[in-house]
Amino acid sequence: MFENLSLFPETASRIASEVDALTFFLAAVSLFFVVLIAGCLVILSLRFRRTRAQQSEQIEGSLALEALWTVIPLIIVLCSFGWGAKLYYEMRTPPKEGMQFYVTGKQWMWKVQHPTGQREINSLHVPVGETILLTMTSEDVIHDFFIPAFRVKADTVPGMYTSMWFEATKKGTYHLFCAEYCGTSHSEMIGEVVVMDPADYQEWLNGQPAGKNPIESGKILFENLRCDTCHAAGSGQRGPDLAGRFGLPARLSDGQTVLFDEDYVRESILEPNKKLSAGFQPLMPTYQGQVSEDQLLHLIAYIKSMTDSEADSE
């Protein structure tokens, strides 16, 4: 009945074995306590059953024991907390340098764009040993990008951006799932991650229609939508110069500060007057219904790439 029963997924990313180690630690702790407590229950209920025990003892409690069985679990949970917290930060802090991919979820498929502009659906080709950064969103409902072999998973939420990173350590084809229930065909929202040698990856890229890369597409959009009339350096005083501002705090007209990140760019394009930049009038029109999720990602990619020097040179 159970031949070929593989009950553990493959391990194919840098983080995977660290996650597994913590999992095994928790499994061992759990097993120990389950056996201890279930064993005690069985032994005690046999040892002290009515036919054997003459008279029960009137024990009301013991402060020393209460302290003991609070402190020992406390030490164990603190260990697992410390270990977990350290790994959690490692997993949630992407390396500075890496290949930036963009992912958009949609009922019921994954759309991926490579840093060089190639696109694919329900598959993701990546080179082995490289840091892969994913910026992700969804067009419609909440999905969840899950690669079991890499032990990574993150929701893709409409209206905001989430990020994920991994470094594949083994060549091969791995499964890609949507883990957040997303409607009728949720169980068919599946794909594959193909991990290749860098050379093979380059060859694969060359075989794909490249088009423009996200930054170039964003630059063209930035001009076509006339963003540049107000937001380029020296374009006048109607809108803030965007060069070199990404990732830094931005001051708002109501005195608050927000982080100038993907979410803020998206919000400012779609609801421009919600968080108005300090020192500017609410002049900008909304672009709701005029830019797709993909185009928003391109604009973000371009704005992210705008550095002061580049803006100066233009």
Binding site: V29, L41, F48, R49, F81, D155, A179, I190
Partner: protein
Amino acid sequence: MSSSTTTQERPLGLDPEGTVHVSHDHHELGFLRKYIFSVDHKVIGIQFMLTGFVTLLVGGLLAMGIRWQLAFPWTEMPLIGKVLFPETGGVATPEGYTMLFTMHGTVMIFFVIIPLLTGAFGNFLIPLMIGAPDMAFPKLNMLGYWFWWPGIVLIAMAFGAEGGGPAAGWTAYPPLSTVEAAAPGSLSGQNLWLLSLTFVGVSSMMGAVNYVTTIVKMRAPGMTLFRMPLSIWGLLISALLQLFALPVLTAASFMQLFDRVFDSGFFTPPDVVINGQRPEELGAASGGHPILWQHLFWFYSHPAVYIMVLPAMGFVSDIIAVHGRKPIFGYKPMAYSMAGIAGLGFIVWGHHMFMSGMNPTVGLVFMTATIMIALPSAVKVFNWLGTLWGSRINLTTPMLFACAFVSMFIIGGLSGIWMASTPVDIYIHDTYIIVAHFHYVVFAGSVLGIFASIYHWFPKMFGRMMNETLGKIHFVGTFITTNAVFYMMHQLGIAGLMRRTADPYAYETYAHLQPLNQFISYSAFALLGFQIFFVVNFFHSIWWGKRVGRNPWKANSLEWETPSPPGHGNFDKQVEVYRGPYEFSSPEIEEDFWPQAAKV
């Protein structure tokens, strides 16, 4: 209201003559007033229980439907298939499967476990155990039961709603649940679902107000807070949880309903394109945020887990003490740890959302709070073991179920630490480990606790014993099959199998898990089958069980001072409380139990 004046005249549950109303000096009520629209807490409790059995059967059959689909996908479902999927001849559809698990979760949580624990046992036990003639607000109590019914009717209507039943999961995450184009059943089904939950919430709220007031105001003379049985502590704390958490769910449900009916857009971000259409083009507002729902929903629904387990913990403590003939080990730590679990329960909701792009610093706070819940839980488990040490155990059916509760709760509790450990949670989130975890808590925990309580308090409810042999068959069958079903789900989850997939074998990776799923399904069918022993035992014993006197278990708490079953007004003599509820095997007296109300 007349009850407020009578409460003043007999402030602690007794009238001036020292006796309360008993059935014989009360004018006879007609059948309708006595059994249907009764204001008697015991009748209302039994009404909740019997209705809960029916909904439990419905929820159980839905679970069997899920199990059938996972074991034998896209084949004709026996028995219930024809009812659920008449248009396909009994074969599940993807929409139908999503409806199955949505409704299974909803029915089990809102129509089975919460009503059975707080509605049935809360009602039946609170006045009896604290020595009060009835609830503080008997009519509100009746209203609480009858407000549950519109909820039942609405959720039943939702099955047959146009466009299919609600299919957004019991968590109903927007925009899937709010934008009609996103999901089948998003027509009227989801609206009915939301309205149904509102009625259930109002019903629970009425109950909670009543329980807290009754426990605070109507205890018999001498019944200090720390002389209350742990059952009452569990019920009090879970009622407080309901009071603080339910309004949030009700508000959130209304916001979702407004999004659906009035296009308000609380949870709809701008510029999404769902099924080729922007909600704005259809006149809907946007600018909200889908994550807001998750915060509001889990702010209720995580404490709801403790609403579903704290009363069971209390009942089990009492049962272990009575059938082990020994005082509860560490009574006060037991009460404090329940309060600790409840308090922490309010600040852990974020661990359901680790995947939603949460800032890791915020995540760390939720991680800390979640992991800390292990401590009061450990205190409880070790104190139960301490109670067993040196006891003199009567291995009756309620005792067996109570011990099973302890051992199952520890499994559910330990797997909770996996979820609190975020890096591990990232892998197991939305896999079958989660399903295994919460079923160990709410099925193997709460439901086995409910069985223990039914076997234990049945003599008080109906004046007769349940059959021990049938009870033990029921116990052994249920215990083995429960573990066969839910333990194996851990293995599915470790293998990476995700929950809520209509066809887990759509990808060849998981095709090899089908035999394991079939094993789980066969076990689940057997689990349902073993409940026949319970049903037969229960209904047979109501009429033909062995008659019992007031105190068949030789227990100490006040409910055993009343006739079995107690008449209207509960106590036929004056009750005063002289000691705590766990004076078993005291060296000061000859008997091995010392009732709370016994003067010497």
